[in-house]
Symmetry: C2
């Protein structure tokens, strides 16, 4: 494996930052984590995160627009889950990494 280069273009930086920015809000982060392991409907996400359904819906729209989450209607409910396996992995890994770092000290 070659030495990792960390230089990126301006466009890449902006795109990358956008993904981080979405995770950079506690409400959104909790929402993402809630429906990452398995799809969850909006009201369940709201209950689990203790956020209002309206607020959850607003955030879900952003996460959906960024292709991080994917929506699927089932009757009255709409289920949200990771957009794809890769997204799931990336996010799970990021969280795991940061939690490791956090629990050291």
């Amino acid at each position: 494996m070659a030495k990792r280069s960390l230089s990126i273009s301006d466009d890449q930086a902006i795109e990358l930052a956008e993904m981080f920015r979405l995770m950079g809000d506690a409400s959104r982060l909790k929402i993402v984590l809630t429906c990452l392991s398995k799809p969850r409907c909006v009201s369940d996400i709201a209950t689990a995160t203790k956020l209002s359904p309206s607020l959850v819906s607003h955030h879900l729209r952003l996460l959906r627009a960024a292709r991080m989450l994917r929506a699927e209607r089932q009757g009255k409910q709409v289920y949200y889950g990771a957009a794809d396996e890769h997204v799931r992995c990336v996010i799970a890994d990021m969280v795991a990494h940061v939690r490791e770092t956090d629990s050291e000290t």
Copy 2:
């Protein structure tokens, strides 16, 4: 290794989100990436990122406060680098992951 649980406390979510938030700005992300592989002085970071020294300094203060970067004075210059090996790894991995995802499509 047990099945990864992704549930986190409110405090953890806030702390985690704070780290993501810092990476969620293109200017800051570029700054971090610039001085991650080896310590760089402020003016070099400014040149590399095409940002004003003043702006770079402002952002460096935030990154330093969050213990992501570490400052060391050498004469007139102040060199900034990863606060520790773990931080370097976490950030490099996050970037690598996201770049993989990005280059697929």
